[in-house]
Amino acid sequence: MKLIQGNEACALGAMRAGCRFFAGYPITPATEIMEWMARLLPPKGGVFIQMEDEIAALAAVIGASWGGAKAMTATSGPGFSLMQEHLGYAAMTETPCVVVDSQRGGPSTGLPTLPAQGDVMQARWGSHGDRPAIVLTASSVRDVYEITVAAFNLSETYRLPVVLLLDALLSHMRENVELPEVAVVDRRKPDSVEAFQPFGSTAFQAFGDGPPLVVTGLAHADTGRPRASDGPNLERMLRRSIDRLETDREAITRYRAIGLDDADHLILTYGITARSAAGAVQQLRADGIRAGLLELQTLWPFPERLVADLASRVENVVVPELNLGQLVMAVRAAVGGAAPVRHLGRADGRLFSPEEIATAVRAGAHEVSRA
């Protein structure tokens, strides 16, 4: 048992996952992740560098990944906005890497020291064009450790950048944690470098470890050679990448369920808000209201079938989040009218209390019972 800070747990998880390159830029409330990596990497022969801005930080991470290293950066809203172009570049070039965004009040400089969950849609769609995205989040220090490792594992398995959304509170809070055992997915080298097609494969050859490679952000063939005017080829590659996530949707979807087996009322949330929601479930159950909590740890790809299935078995759904309506859009689409969906949003840098969430569930229950 150790008293560990959220950001520290992220760094520890990264090291445990085999991360050997970190490039970053200071920004509240993510800076401690960088500071920890600066201390943890050199004894392991890993590389740490503070770059000149966030654009350079993610560029360096991608360069390092093509050198063969598991690589990560960490930032917050303003820096995450700067990284969008390179997130798209990493997706286009099938580069495994992890980008941590510890969310704070936005937009713009906003509330630098206060928590928010306002980057949920941006994490999915912030970069131009169509691309698959894996976005994870966490609600406790222990989860930060475990899900950081999961982020690396998923990025290696699917050859995609994976975004991990934290928040200002989670990043800076300290909890007594027993760090769990975790499984680590290592980068898979190709069986034969000679016959290897670098794109469309889940194996990975770094520069210098075989025949020369071509990596470009232009639309390209599976060999890597640019095909800048071949639209159908690009669409084929995008769909292939998206379909791969679709096929493995269940394996990628991480969540925590509380009281879902017999719930009449569903609270669907994620991240720091899930802590309050768990308290709300307790209060409601004590009052004889069968509430349940679906805490999503995988936000994207959004688990539509899971949510649709749950919604068909409950009387109402409440979606609390620290933004003015982001994940609720995906929830509403998945629920498809099977149950009323009530949104609880705020952008004031504060959390929902368990009482506030419970009140929303009661109001929903009351409306349903009156209908």
């Binding site: 050997r20 390159f21 490039a23 050199p42 004894p43 022969g45 590389v47 560098i49 770059m51 000149e52 801005d53 654009i55 350079a56 930080a57 560029a59 360096a60 991470v61 991608i62 360069g63 390092a64 990944s65 093509w66 050198g67 063969g68 290293a69 690589a71 172009e85 390179h86 570049y89 770094a206 520069f207 210098g208 075989g210 025949p211 020369p212 490679l213 071509v214 990596v215 470009t216 952000g217 232009l218 890597g224 050679r225 640019p226």
Partner: protein, 272 residues
């Protein structure tokens, strides 16, 4: 021994030839200079990574038989930094344009110069943005026409060499596409330099810069380049102010970043 006219096909990606650069474009001559330099350096091509930005110069890596990383506009040096730090044994050369380096890439350029990581940056300076159709660059001379300065540019241009020197680069050189032998010599010098090396190459864009400023075709533009420049020693001797100086402006040995970092790691490992 320096040779001319030798067979350089082994360095080229033959099935991508002919390259996409315009008739008479200086970038093809810079590519030849690079291939000639590789011929003199005897580097294993699978241990070489050419990192390009976006723009005509950024296409260079596609035409070579080495590893190619075609990145985002202005950021080649940032990608190269991450790669080189992870794999210091690889040779990393960036091929960037003038806007790529000094406009959108300005921040990454000055920091790469400052850090002294053992990499080489070849800056293809044609004074214009070629690929997007002839817009002003931060190196476009005052008064020169471009499609975004149709009445002549009002802005004083950057001097890329001075920028690199001020930012602390330990090897800084300038050549032109007219100087067909000095160019590969300087590239060899730069690659061998154990630190961050910048080679600025003045190269002609007959399609845009030349046409918009009535400088004629590639033949005329090479003469123009010849008359615009002079080896720096000659300028001092003959008092020919107004010519742009060529040659090596700084060659210093200073602590190289990846070597220092390796030492730091070794010290850390020894203590634990």
């Amino acid at each position: 021994m320096p040779r001319v006219g030798q067979d350089l096909r082994q360095y080229l990606q033959l099935d991508s030839m002919p390259h996409v650069w315009c008739p008479g474009c200086g970038h093809g001559q810079v590519a030849r200079g690079l291939a000639t330099a590789l011929d003199r350096l005897s580097l294993p091509l699978d241990q070489l990574v050419l990192v390009g930005g976006i723009g005509c110069s950024g296409r260079t890596p596609f035409y070579f038989n080495a590893n190619a990383m075609h990145t985002t506009h202005g950021r080649a040096l940032a990608f190269a930094t991450g790669l080189k730090l992870t794999r210091p044994e690889l040779t990393v050369i960036t091929t960037m344009g003038d806007g790529d380096t000094a406009a959108i890439g300005g921040n990454h350029f000055i920091h790469a110069c400052r850090r002294n990581i053992d990499m080489t940056a070849i800056v293809y300076n044609n004074g214009i943005y070629g690929m997007t159709g002839g817009q002003q660059a931060p190196t476009t001379p005052r008064g020169a026409r471009s499609v975004t300065t149709p009445l002549g540019s009002l802005e004083p241009p950057f001097d890329i060499v001075q920028l690199a020197l001020a930012a602390g680069a330990t090897y800084v050189a300038r050549s032109t596409t007219f100087d067909f032998d000095e160019l590969p010599t300087l590239i060899v010098d730069a690659v061998r330099h154990p630190g961050f090396a910048v080679v600025e190459v003045l190269t002609q864009c007959p399609t845009y810069y030349g046409r918009l400023n009535e400088l004629g075709d590639a033949v005329a533009m090479l003469d123009y380049e010849r008359d615009l420049t002079l080896p720096q020693e000659a300028i001092t001797k003959e008092g020919l102010a107004g010519r742009r100086p060529l040659g090596v402006f700084r060659r210093e040995i200073a602590p190289e970043y990846t070597a220092q970092y390796a030492e730091l790691c070794a010290r850390q490992a020894a203590r634990s």
